[in-house]
Symmetry: D2
Subunit: 362 residues, 4 copies
């Protein structure tokens, strides 16, 4: 019987444990994915430290794989491109179309959680990219990766870029010639930088640290960087941003840092009539000091999203394939085999890594 | 020489002082307005206590007047309705079309401040509704009040309703069948309630106090009220709102209370994917406890505005004329002659009054 | 074995034929609906005359039914309201979440056609309201009708109102105080009139005929009507609309007539900067005379939709339940038992009927 | 006394006539501009053939000039950048803030016509770029051209790009990864191509002729071109566009051709749920064959604009300065001294020229 090794989260603070699972037979419509490369996401790291995080679960939702086996009836991806074994794909659950969020529109499905985020107790168990194989249920969504695109480059369609695209759509987008501030110089911040440049921003300012990340941001096209090591006070950083934006502030600020005081800082950076996309505040730090009168007095338009939709994954892949010149794969600074997944978590957490990936099949 | 008595703000905490000014001759295009009724606005009261508030100034920006004299060349209002002496009008400065805000669009003109908010040191001095006459500069905007509409009813086109309309436009409006929460049961809250009902909200919930105001809200069409005297904790109020909205929260929350902790409370009241219009936070209380992760996790769309545009004043007048059945003029609970303007401020501040007005010409 | 009588469309121009079908056993998750009342829709009538219309099919997509049997596992409607046999419901397929339109968003699912519009050759056959029973597949969407709401009133949640709501959302809605023109005085026009009044339009002008329908429109709240029998030329009607809208034209025009020249006429009726919702042009008449320079010169925002989403059905039901005062059920002018369904088609086509319904179970 | 030579339109079909005007003394706040380069616009050519076109008028609204004299009190441009004689600028009238369109928002001012489009009979006469000097009235809007930007490059901020930006804003913009069709390969089409690439379109398809223009489009970044000389039938072109867009059609179509049948052709090219920006239909050809059911059935969002706002001129200049790599000045294919302005019109009309300019001061 075929088996699949996977790294399992077994409780807060405990190292991911290597376990072995049977690979179940494929139902009609299902697909077995061989995980090629899976990145450690900040979400995983937060969950790792969260005593209430559900487990057991195989993480690895930022994943690209290859088709190991196609279930009966699966012949194409979601856009009717033919599929065969060996083709590389990104995979997502289809939305249920029936939950409150699906009926309301514009919100993540409450029922079908992404792969890599599904606690399990029963078969098929293997539902995350930190395992050799992923069992993709019938009627899921597949997106074929073009043959002339590297697996590593394709991975960035599910790191940052997709969520940024969803969030920007909610706020009516960046306009050509906008001045954009990106708060945070991690992988999501790099996605925001990428998308802002693609959308024709005239000036993109990345606020973050450490120096190496800011250097990378400049290589990727950031017009300016503001180091939080150099400008240590939020007010100094906001002042610096205003200097760089004709004294008015940015047309759009995108919060990607997740820092507990970042939201207030961003409100100070946006111009009157500007927009603020709050992506980074996934972690609930409880109430933080925020001045809501800035929203009224500056008439700021604000929103946030938790993640992407499949449309945005597709669009991110297309953009990375056709329009992004920068070799984004350089953002992968650390690679590990599956057995060393816990090291990948460590270098993520120490900020040594920009993006740390695991290669479950070597 | 003709003179004009007016109540002048002469510094924080000092009673408004009755002063007398010469009525200047009219330039071509200017208009002299006889102030009929002017309401005390919370903005005035805040300025009254603010040591940095500019002075001297004749307040009274919530004002309806009658045309005392038409300057040469003024024959119609902004919509080409003929004007003659004695006609009642609302008046606003035209935007300058040249400042940063005018060029950016959707923001209040930085140059031409509203009447009733202009500090003065030189003629024409008389620029606020808390005086017998208002000198309206050439090329200002006039809006004729229909003959079959009472002056008091027309006043509400410049109390709350106009600003609410501007804010709602910024957020894409209320949809028919929405559940709407209005935070605050003062004049702006009553404007929000009025507009929400007009826009087809299925359920409007007013959160406020004291009991008399909530009673008035119910008379005006509020489907539910939540008393902050009864539900004393923010979380209890948010819980009550969720109970009244199928456990999900409101489609739209409109903050009109100006209370320092109201913004966070409102974030708890809005549903995932809902909208939050932050009108009340005009006063800068500095940083307050706010949980920005709610914006990300619930994907809330948020904005605010400082005031209306003339379009919204016009639309508010039209709505009050043609569609609002409730006798909104009942919200005027206190009336004073000009000399007793300081009493009007007092009853506003004690919340004795819903709307306290001055009649500068008796 | 239980059987179900139904009226089957068997080809263009042929009377619907009464046929009898076995009622299949219910799968888990499925529901059997007893059809209470089903309206003839213009779509049905067009299909009736269309040689390319697919058949056999049981029409009757404007339908309200009662639960005859609940499949295993079905305990609530889509909003978690408990369901039991006998409860009245509206039913819709869930979207597939996988087709091009579902992935793009804002478009009708290409895969799961509405009940009443599904050609069949195999079981369960009985998928339309013009039959005694409707077999509703597993995982469909149900909407419980409040006990204090008549079946006839609920029917209007699936006649016109739902589609109008979807279309208005696409264009950013009607604003309070808008002047709105509705082209067409049939059932969709009446839905548009209803929604425009609900949304706070200051003036709603219905353009149509014959006199009886316009009379009904005025009873429902139309502020003005323009008879196409009186104003026989399109330009005369456009001129009349401009007279009724300060010479400028309407803020919003909603085309609900389906007349072949209506679109051009509507372009003449909308003001500069106004919006035009094109709902009526379902039938492909081929190219008609239209002046596209009006779109550029007046900067009109235009769109259309083919039908509703389930959210809009829900919102329409809520509005009809809680906010619409007019007894919309009066729009049902003709009722027939199932066997006389062809008479219902006839009175629809002659315009004798506003809404003609069939009661498949008497 | 100083004089100014200018080319005056004196009636349909008559060659522009060289006339000489006195240069009036400058009022406070006014500015005298020395016209450096002015392009012939299709609007001018249409007016040239229009018996109802008002005259006399000095055309030349696509103009860049240098400050010849600053009126008293003028020290900066609209964004507070210092100005001195000799600085190169773009100039626009400020909006009046009082006409119907200004009050409604989002529409061109009805009162203050652009320079180069103002018929005159009295001083200051000299109000168009086809003259040596332009008298810019007090309180107009000036935009300083950066020192490191050529005059010719700056000219493109007022050719096509600015109007395209305004139109795109009205429709919510292009999204990164969109497939965009541009109908027309003249100057406006080139502006649309430029803006679409800047906004991150994945694929831009230009439909037009002749071959030289399409070649230029490809040099500027068009991913595909469709020649109307090769694909001679509208349906063939629409089919070709669908082939290039996965069979679905484009996410956005921008009509810039002004051809009388272009609108219908574009409706066939846009995908379900796509957007259509109709810029080209400035000329009123009267009713043309258009199928409005495409709007309903494909749920297309459509709009158009007549021209830009000053914000869009500014943003176009910024984009051309900071982001556009292509040497757009190469689009200027013909240059003439003022006396030969009629030749500039000729080469525009024969399509020999992409952009033909006049240099009124040599």
């Amino acid at each position: 019987m075929e088996t699949c090794k996977a790294a399992v989260f077994v409780g807060a603070g405990k190292p991911l444990a290597m376990q072995e699972f049977p690979v179940p037979p494929l139902e009609p419509g299902a697909v077995l994915i061989k995980s090629l490369v899976a990145a450690v996401c900040a979400t995983d790291v937060h969950a790792f430290h969260n005593p209430r995080a559900p487990h057991p679960v195989i993480w690895g939702h930022e994943n690209v794989g290859a088709i190991a086996r196609l279930g009966k009836g699966v012949t194409t991806d979601a856009y009717e491109q033919a599929l065969k074994e060996g083709d590389r794909v990104i995979y997502y659950p289809a939305t249920c179309g029936r939950c409150f969020n699906c009926l309301a529109g514009g919100l993540p499905c409450e029922v079908r959680r992404n792969y890599g985020l599904r606690p399990f107790t029963t078969p098929p168990h293997i539902t995350g990219g930190f395992g050799q194989y992923v069992y993709v249920e019938p009627n899921a969504l597949l997106l074929r990766i073009p043959d002339d695109m590297s697996t590593e480059r394709a991975l960035f369609a599910v790191i940052g870029n997709h969520t940024v695209m969803n969030g920007l759509e909610k706020l009516g987008g960046i306009s050509v010639s906008d001045a954009v501030v990106v708060q945070g110089s991690g992988p999501v911040g790099m996605g925001a930088l990428t998308q802002a440049k693609l959308a024709g921003a005239r000036r993109v300012i990345v606020v973050g640290a450490p120096a190496g990340r800011l250097q990378m941001a400049r290589e990727m096209g950031a017009d300016e960087t503001v180091s939080i090591e150099e400008y240590r006070e939020p007010e100094a950083r906001a002042q610096r941003v205003r200097e760089l934006t004709d004294g008015r502030g940015a047309d759009m600020v995108i919060e990607c840092s997740g820092a507990d005081t970042a939201f207030q800082e961003g409100l100070e950076m946006v111009r009157a009539g500007g927009k603020y996309l709050n992506l980074g505040q996934l972690t609930d730090y409880g109430p933080m000091p925020v001045n809501p009168s800035l929203i009224t007095r500056k008439s700021i338009l604000i929103s946030g999203v938790l993640g992407p939709t499949f449309k945005h994954v597709t669009r991110a892949l297309h953009a990375l394939h056709a329009r992004v010149k920068y070799p984004v794969e350089k953002l992968i600074t650390h690679e590990f085999p599956l057995q060393r997944v816990n090291e990948a978590f460590r270098v993520h957490e120490t900020l040594e890594a920009m993006v740390a990936v695991v290669r479950p099949n070597g």
